[in-house]
Symmetry: C2
Subunit: 608 residues, 2 copies
């Protein structure tokens, strides 16, 4: 039996203690990994050096040009909304002593720390990199500190945003803008780097414009971050950072679940995947893992599918698989699904309206039943019927839970459980009324009597999962590590050149990387949010005529009818499979493969 | 913008199609990975060959020797409950043409397919390996097929049990035993390998005894499988297969969540970890990731902690962290917790009793309220008070949901959500009655007025997770891949030598591996299950005086008061971090490190 004696001289103990605080064997090894550097950032002497950005012939003409040109007059005057491209900076004078501050905004995404490493590397020994604590809040409050090389060595290639922290504050009021100005002036900032998603980059554009107006000589540059993958601009920005890592974490787990389903031969695993709006994560995970069933919100909206027809679609596949003797599988559900089902969207809009209009009356009613009696007559019959068909707890949630703006908390709806309950009903319909659903005739499923008996004998067992937080702060994949380091080099180069209001970008992942700067004002469109029009960077949703969607659509019926799943495995940082990029990105960009990216020659980026 | 043209000649497309059915880039590469082979299985000519088992001086004397010797008379007569050890089989006559069948039983665990590869390798060209479909059910029904080398090449190093499938049927009735005999006789089996957990290996012992009694000349050998880690026998069997892979998958994710918590700086992630009984998974994950708070069921039972005191323990740490300005973290909760809290165990026992006694009466009562009114007076005051203090949905579940035996479905209780709700109440108590909990005096938490104000301003936001299915069917770690292949070689060698009623084992992971055969009858103890006594292999729970627990206990206060988390990262199959073994196993076995295992020289195990 194992020794009961506690042996303090135990050898691995000493090593064990030294692993606390992000020093596992793995964590210490990944810090040593080399990172590819795009050739524009390599000087003739072979050292990392700032690139120089030049105008291209590409101009962004956004749809609401009239409105954006009013809001971003000075930025557009300077940039003319022309895309810039980076070239090796041999002719550039050496720029020393610049002070640049950086912050994280919004949810974490893998690679954020490498953006800092890239910035530090390009600013050089005489430049100063300042970290802003806890996101925009820290920018407003002036909570900054100088980042030294030792700190960069500690965070390089690590995941998360924990070195600085993050938050979701938006700089909106005049008072907030004034405080941001004070932070820039007090800290003598030459540059401010905002690492964030669509809202944060929009905010960056507003701050850039404000600084120009106020005569604050500080460049503002955005870095495209979001695991959701909906911050992308065709050939100009194939993807934001963090998407590759997050989707690979989810694909590892979905891959494991597909294998587990086929092993235990009794469960359907319903997996909800993070992504409030776009289904890009779900599409990528589907391409990676080839599960039995995948729902894509954008397609469902486009086809005007009802909740019932979505349920029927899934139940139909489950039924057909069962007839083939397969009573297990994986169903992928995008987090944002509910709002893409047109009738659900209508119901939620009506509810928001009714609950706002009659807020006090409804609040005063003592029981849920009273509230229901009050609300139902105020809905359209279609919405009333739909709401009555939802599971109790979801109906209760719709009526009782409000967000800060008084709206239904759509993101809290457990979509995967809603689907499971509805599909369970549908499966028992199929079981009890086999003559209606099986046999000859239009819309009926072909089946022999024996198959029908087997069908009825089988049970519908499910497990539900939500994958999200697990993928935001993983160690970046080799791709995300390289992508972010080069984004940092690009952003630093832009600041050194005095460029403002741009978002850094890298494209051409298949041939060494092309480094661009996108004028943010050119990306901004008008969006209706909570009834008000707002100027924001438009989200890049799944396009059902894109190559990635078409490859998925062409294959899904095969994946539905057989176990053809596969798995990219856990993210590898060494070995033959470690340099992959997202399949959907490779397909949409027209690369010749996704097996290996090329963002320049690898370098051990020791920061001096 | 991305091309809207669907380009069918797209190059990666062809590769993409070839990845369906477990042929991702990763899956094809891991099949080529070499596997370490213990030296006892390597012949003088350097080929894989059966080992020969010899008696050691180790005898298992189980506690219920009287009972087991009655049940397993013939097995014990043969084995004398002596542990066997493997030696190189140079003196053994070449044994050809043996027929061996193998099945998976119970939940999947990583490495099962490599047991098959090991069996196939050791049986040699003239031996026949038969696969039994869908576990013990297939054994009873005689659902067998011959496994060829091509199939082994396809499944080697892959995860899951999907090649054969599995189920949880137990061979119990005389009719079932007779059918198993028929399967053995009809298929001319010389050996039957049962890959499973404590119940399945117990079943293997019963079948072995039955075959001896019936004169069926077929060896029965068990293989220790369970991700839970509670199938272990001190120095004789350090761990079962699948534990390393599962805990590393969970540790990757918990590591990501600790990093995410520190990045988003607003959430406590409550992570429930699979393991119905033992907290071994939770302990290993805690050692790997060093989260703020970890609950270990065995310790809670030993200390006779109440639910309220568990809640206070967690809330107290959260409060103290908040006073230090840390309002985020990760809490690990073992799945089996509820039944280890003595008062909860009593409540459940009382409920099971009451619900059995008054089944009809309670069933006839129309509403939940009626049932409550009926049941409460029948409980002890302590249990009544406890039940009334539980969240509604959990109380409802306890009263309404029954398993097939009429018992409370303990495994369905969402422990992590129960804890969250109770801790939320406790946090608001602390907030509203600060004078009672903070300041000078016994049991009070020291805090300045300013700290108390900050404490009150902070909110308690949570996310809950359950990690289980994701880790059962992952690709085996290098350790599990090696461990299982050698277990397969061991089991095959035992059959070739005509040994029956043994479980194959490998120990000494730090120095080349020692291969043992453990007489199962010697491991069996008496356990009370659902009121009846049963002979089963005793579960190996967390021992609070074991080195692994002590190292955890010594460090947890430090982990609670600072962010000292770390992460083993995703499982690596290449590179410098790929050969680790479980920390808890290394500690308990007294190895000098966990950084690297040694199970012999690596070989590319092409099966000919």
């Amino acid at each position: 039996m194992a020794s009961d004696q506690f042996n303090p001289s135990f050898n691995s103990l000493e090593h064990f203690h030294s692993t606390a605080g992000k020093h596992s064997i793995f964590e210490d090894e990944i810090r040593k990994l080399p990172i590819p550097v795009c050739s524009v950032f390599v000087s003739q002497e072979g050292r990392i050096a700032p690139a120089v950005f030049k105008e291209t012939d590409m101009i962004f003409q956004c749809e609401d040009h009239g409105r954006t040109s009013k809001e971003f007059t000075r930025s557009i005057e300077k940039s003319k909304d022309i895309v810039l491209q980076a070239f090796p900076g041999k002719s550039a004078p050496r720029i020393d002593g610049k002070r640049v501050a950086v912050l994280f905004s919004g949810g974490p995404a893998a690679g954020g720390h490498n953006v800092l490493a890239g910035l530090k590397a390009v600013l050089g020994r005489d430049g100063t990199l300042l970290g802003i604590r806890k996101g925009p809040k820290g920018l407003i409050n002036g909570d900054l500190f100088e980042i030294n090389s030792e700190q960069i060595r500690a965070i390089i290639n690590t995941g998360g945003f924990d070195f600085l922290g993050t938050d979701r504050t938006k700089v909106k009021t005049a008072e907030q803008f004034a405080k941001v100005k004070a932070t820039a002036v007090n800290n003598k900032l030459d540059g401010l780097i905002i690492i964030g998603g669509d809202d944060s980059n929009t905010n960056a554009a507003y701050i850039a414009e404000y600084f120009l107006r106020e005569g604050v000589d500080c460049s503002v540059v955005g870095i495209p971050k979001t695991i959701d993958g909906d911050m992308a601009v065709g050939k100009y920005l194939p993807i934001s950072f963090g998407f590759d890592t997050a989707t690979k974490v989810y694909s590892e787990l979905v891959g494991n679940l597909t294998q587990d389903a086929a092993s235990a031969v009794k469960y359907y695993h319903f997996v909800k995947l993070m992504g409030r709006t776009a289904s890009k994560i779900t599409l990528e995970v589907a391409l990676q893992t080839k599960p039995a069933i995948t729902l894509i919100s954008e397609e469902i909206a486009e086809k005007h599918m009802s909740l019932e027809s979505v349920v029927e679609y899934v139940a139909d596949i489950i039924a057909k698989r069962r007839l083939k003797g397969i009573n297990h599988g994986v169903v992928l559900v995008p987090e944002g699904l509910i709002e893409f089902i047109p009738e659900m969207k209508s119901l939620i809009q009506e509810l928001n309206h009714v609950l706002a209009e009659y807020e006090r009356d409804i609040k005063d009613l003592p029981t849920l039943k009273n509230k229901q009696e009050y609300i139902y007559p105020l809905l359209t019959p279609q919405s009333a019927q739909l709401m009555a068909s939802l599971p109790d707890d979801i109906e209760e949630m719709l009526i009782l839970d409000r967000d800060d703006h008084g709206n239904v908390k759509v993101s809290q709806i457990e979509t995967e459980k809603l689907l499971i309950e509805k599909i369970r009903y549908r499966m028992s319909q199929l079981k009890r009324h086999t003559h209606r659903f099986f046999g000859d005739g239009e819309g009926k499923i072909e089946a022999t009597d024996r198959q029908i008996e087997q069908f009825k004998a089988a049970s519908f067992s499910t497990q539900s999962h939500f994958l999200g937080y697990e993928g935001r702060s993983a160690k970046p994949t080799a791709f995300d590590a390289a992508f972010t380091f080069n984004l940092g080099l690009a952003a630093g180069s832009l600041v050194l050149q005095g460029k403002t209001g741009y978002m850094a970008s890298v494209t051409d992942f298949d041939k060494g990387g092309r480094v661009l700067a996108l004028p943010i004002s050119g990306l901004i469109a008008c969006e209706t949010r909570k009834g008000r029009e707002e100027l924001v960077i438009a989200k890049d949703l799944v396009n059902t005529s894109s190559p990635a969607f078409k490859v998925f659509a062409k294959n899904r019926d095969k994946w539905a009818m057989d176990d053809l799943f596969s798995s990219p495995g856990p993210i590898q940082h060494w070995g033959p499979t470690s340099r992959q990029m997202p399949i959907s990105v490779a397909l949409n960009q027209g690369y010749t493969g996704y097996q290996s990216f090329d963002l320049g020659e690898e370098r051990v980026v020791g920061v001096d």
